[in-house]
């Protein structure tokens, strides 16, 4: 396969990955000026709104090099946010090389380093690209030095470009062709195709995105998924331009898709290997590292009748986001739902938004939690990611919570602010290093629970956007935990319970009470909102009742008008959850885990 190159672009968030991808696509002539829009690969609304990439996507570009040879370049775009490093690893497994994009004014950031290590793990060819050289604050020499010192790469091999202005794009294309090796697999060998993505189409069934490592796949072939032995007949194969383009077949080295009338969503697992039924490969590809959820929250339908459609939506959703894990759950206040595990808080928000937009689900999510470990007096050890299952406090011998090791890269002048933030969040074991003059790498051990809420936002604020952040799971450490319960007019709202560090309990409880006070509309009676540990009230707020709510007239015989108003109010009320006699709107359940700062 000498004329195929499979590559990915990796970068710290906002270093210009999507813009560079846009230029490469434009240069290959795949879209004309009229069709083109920025961030062209990010076709989800939510990606465009937030200016981030969530999903990996692949696209095949045609390129004629300076010697006049034709190449097929498969670009696999990847997300930049720390929550989605799992998506990155999936993309990398399908590539032979990467473009490591670095912002000319920001230099090497925490995720640049993390992504580089990930690429090295897969033994990929790495091409450093310094982007945004048009910026007045660009400091190419400094960045080159960081590439040598921080990353240990040869800075002479660096390509300079400005994706925004379209400068240096030709050089990038040439480097892809010259430096990245062609895929190694042999067409003659048994088929091995790595499933790296899938999504559900209501007309065609599940559409599988895959990278062929060896063999050939054609329409009419009988395929088999190696993990569960399920078999299908291939209806269509093809490659991705901006849309799917059917081809006669796909061969080793290529990246493409398979449509095979797969209705059973659960048959397709990301990371699985597809082979041919009549000449199967002896063993599957090694697949991916399993995504390990670190944040847990429950999803409930607003109306309990929608439980089964929510179940169906989650199943289809998971196809496209293998990192989401879930199982059945139930709550006294909210009924039947699902306990879900997420890669991080951004991932959680994205799942919520996509379920609502793409699947039309109206859902309530409970307060996110990490997984706590408890050793009981009986000697038994239990793991709890749902406050509902918090053990009897009297039976707990010792509580443990997960810690992460964070790496924060900042310009020197923000050191004080970041130190303060970390201490406030119970950071320990602080170490500093100075990779290059003027820059500091701060490492802390932090309880994961402390970064759940708004750590990333706060870091951006205190460093005026210059701080970058990455983390790894570290270990479990002993801690003093309590469960905070929330009562609305004396009724416990179990879905608002949280496990928190004792020192933070009062502040958390008060925060929740205040948020609920803002979100729950007034009723005819006074509503008391209380936060408690066991039987001990530690925080409270009250919502005063309606003092007057009556219209003077019934408009003569026009009862219709009055009733319609009532019907509208009634519909509004249907979207609320009743807890005792108090109607709590969906927004209240969301607001309680938003940032503590106004």
């Amino acid at each position: 396969m000498p004329n195929i190159r499979n590559f990915s672009i990796i970068a710290h968030i906002n270093h210009g990955k999507s813009t560079l991808a846009d230029r490469l696509i434009q240069m290959s002539g795949l879209v004309d000026e009229r069709e083109f829009r920025d961030q062209i690969l990010d076709d989800m609304d939510i990606e465009r709104e937030r200016g981030i990439t969530i999903k990996s996507r692949s696209i095949t570009l045609a390129y004629k090099n300076s010697k006049g040879e034709d190449f097929e370049l498969n670009l696999i775009d990847t997300p930049g946010h720390v929550d989605f490093s799992y998506e990155v690893s999936r993309a990398l497994a399908s590539c032979e090389g990467v473009l490591l994009v670095i912002d000319a004014s920001q230099g090497v950031e925490a995720q640049t380093v993390a992504n580089l290590y990930a690429a090295m793990e897969y033994d990929l060819e790495i091409i450093p690209v310094i982007n945004k050289i048009d910026l007045p604050s660009a400091d190419i020499e400094m960045v080159k030095e960081q590439i040598e010192v921080d990353l240990g790469l040869d800075s002479d091999q660096t390509i300079l470009c400005s994706a925004k202005e379209g400068r240096g794009i030709e050089d990038v294309m040439e480097a892809i062709v010259e430096k990245i090796p062609p895929p190694a697999g042999r067409i003659e060998d048994p088929l091995k195709a790595l499933v790296f993505d899938a999504h559900y189409d209501s007309f065609r069934g599940t559409i599988v995105s895959c990278r062929l490592f060896s063999g050939t796949l054609r329409q009419g072939d009988m395929i088999r998924f190696m993990s569960n032995k399920s078999g299908y007949k291939v209806e269509e194969t093809g490659i991705f331009h901006l849309k799917r383009v059917p081809t006669k077949g796909i061969v080793a080295g290529q990246v493409g898709y398979i449509i095979a009338g797969i209705k059973a969503v659960s048959d397709v697992r990301i990371g699985d290997t597809v082979t041919l039924d009549n000449s199967p490969a002896p063993e599957p590809l090694s697949g991916f590292r399993e995504a390990k959820p670190v944040v847990f929250s429950s999803i409930y339908p607003i109306s309990s009748e929608d439980y089964s459609t929510l179940a169906d939506s989650l199943e289809k959703y998971k196809l496209n986001d293998a990192a989401l894990v879930y199982q059945k759950d139930s709550s006294a206040a909210l009924g039947l739902g699902f306990r879900c595990g997420f890669l991080g808080l951004l991932h959680l928000e994205i799942v919520q938004a996509r379920l609502e937009r793409e699947f039309g689900q109206s859902i309530i999510m409970t307060v996110p939690s990490v997984e706590y470990h408890f050793r009981l007096n009986s000697g038994e050890e239990i793991k709890v990611d749902n406050p509902l299952y918090y053990p009897d406090p009297a039976a707990i011998e010792k509580s443990l919570e997960p810690y992460i090791r964070t790496s924060i890269l900042i310009p020197e002048k923000y050191m004080g602010a970041v130190m303060e933030l970390c201490l406030e969040r119970r950071g320990e074991n602080t170490r500093f290093s100075y990779p290059t003059p003027g820059r500091v790498e701060a490492r802390f051990d932090l309880p994961l629970a402390e970064v759940l809420y708004d750590f990333y936002d706060r870091l951006k604020t205190v460093t005026q956007g210059y701080g970058s952040f990455d983390y790894d799971m570290l270990d479990y450490r002993e801690t003093d935990l309590v469960k905070v319960d929330i009562f609305v007019n004396g009724e416990r709202v179990d879905s608002l319970s949280q496990i928190v560090c004792r020192d933070r309990a009062r502040a958390r409880a008060l925060h929740i009470c205040e948020r609920l006070k803002e979100e729950i509309p007034r009723h005819m009676f006074k509503i008391a909102i209380q936060g408690a540990i066991g039987g001990n009230i530690i925080a409270r707020t009250t919502i005063s009742p309606f003092r007057k709510d009556v219209t003077a007239k019934c408009y003569g015989g026009d009862i219709t008008r009055k009733r319609k108003l009532l019907e509208k109010q009634k519909r509004g009320k249907k979207r609320m959850k009743m807890v005792g006699s108090v109607a709590i709107p969906q927004s209240a359940f969301v607001a309680v885990f938003k940032s503590e700062d106004k």
């Binding site: 007057k548 009556v550 019934c554 408009y555 009862i559 009733r563 009320k573 006699s581």
Partner: protein
């Protein structure tokens, strides 16, 4: 009280009041065309509705019509419909129109209940409300009507005006009570869409009362009139005794059928509601071409009927029969909460709103719809 009621809308006024949202035009040039169209509408319903035991002429300003026009309309009604002997015959009257001749004319026409649009006895307030009469004229009209022998008198008053104090309002109420009216309607000023006051409020010229102030006015009104022996039998209505309740208006609240004639009038037959064009021109054109002037209708579902029973019932002292509230297993718990919070009481298996319940009567029904 299961006989239907008959309402006739007289959509003419000398001038438009800035707070009023009912349909009328400030011109009398279409009166004869309108009365002719009205007769066609009456004829259409002949034999389809009745016998009626209440007749209500509202508006607009019915007393703007000359006695002979009123007589012509009434005669047409008598020719086409059946009426019970003891029928309540109400006409809404404007103090300005209460000349000696008009009063005796109304008496001769057989009206046995007058509802006088007094609104206030304070001249400044009357000017603010865009009324043509002053306090003195209102008093004269009341005395004149009494002298003519009307023994079932109702009075409309508006309170909660911009700049009004509770003390000032109490002065008006005291003056009203000094005439010993059988019936009092005290409406809290409501800013209706499409009125002059609405536009003033939008522009920020008219600052509405706070919720707490509105509450104080409502509670003070109810307290004062109950002390004076009036029954607070509906949110805005008071009567000396139950026989003096507005029989016609009670039909709206108890969902007894009624026929409404004239532009913008609403009708109800127990299952269906329909309403006429809110335009004299379209109303007349339809009838002149032999069509019904009905703009829209709706067939009520059982759930909608239930909503009406509850929401209307909880606006009156009659309340709602417990059985009408549904079979929700949580019902008795809900009622218990409302009794404890002082919003309702139970009497003869009916849920009756208290004064505290009246104050939040728009909220109360929602409580039973979950």
């Amino acid at each position: 009280m299961s006989n239907p009621g008959l309402y006739i809308h007289i959509p003419f006024c000398r001038s438009k009041c800035p707070y009023c949202g009912f349909y009328s035009i400030a011109s009398s040039s279409h009166v004869s065309r309108y009365l002719a169209a009205l007769k066609k509408e009456i004829a259409f319903y002949k034999g389809r509705f009745g016998p009626f035991d209440s007749l209500y002429l509202g508006g607009g300003t019915p007393t703007l019509l000359e006695v002979k026009d009123l007589e012509g309309t009434l005669n047409c009604l008598y020719e086409n419909f059946d009426f019970s002997v003891d029928m309540e015959r109400t006409i809404e009257a404007n103090p300005c129109d209460m000349t000696h001749e008009k009063i005796s004319g109304l008496r001769l026409l057989g009206f046995n209940r007058i509802n006088l649009g007094v609104q206030s006895f304070n001249d400044e307030e009357l000017a603010f409300l865009g009324r043509r009469h002053n306090g003195r004229e209102a008093e004269d009209a009341l005395e004149g009507l009494r002298l003519a022998g009307f023994d079932n008198m109702g009075m409309d008053l508006i309170y909660g005006l911009y700049g009004q104090t509770i003390k000032g309002w109490m002065e008006t109420l005291k003056k009203a009570v000094s005439f010993a009216p059988e019936h009092l309607s005290c409406y809290q000023l409501t800013i209706e869409g499409g009125t002059v006051f609405w536009r003033m409020k939008e522009k920020g010229i008219l600052e509405p009362l706070t919720e707490e102030e509105e509450r104080s006015f409502f509670v003070a009104t109810s307290g004062f009139l109950e002390d004076k022996g009036y029954i607070h039998y509906e949110i805005s209505n008071f009567a000396r005794k139950s026989s003096r309740f507005s029989r016609h208006n009670c039909k709206y609240w108890r969902r007894v059928p009624y026929l409404g004639l004239g532009p913008s009038a609403h009708s109800f037959n127990g299952d269906k509601r329909w309403w006429n064009y809110r335009s004299i021109r379209r109303y007349c054109e339809a009838l002149e071409q032999g069509n019904m002037p009905v703009e829209g209708d709706e067939e009520l579902s059982d759930e909608q009927k239930r909503m009406e029973i509850i929401s209307l019932g909880l606006r009156t002292r009659r309340g709602v029969d417990m059985r009408e509230l549904g079979h929700d297993p949580g019902l008795s718990g809900k009622i218990k909460v409302l009794i404890e919070s002082g919003h309702v009481k139970i009497f003869n298996d009916r849920v009756i709103p208290t004064r505290e319940g009246y104050v939040v009567a728009d909220r109360l029904p929602l409580y039973f719809f979950m």
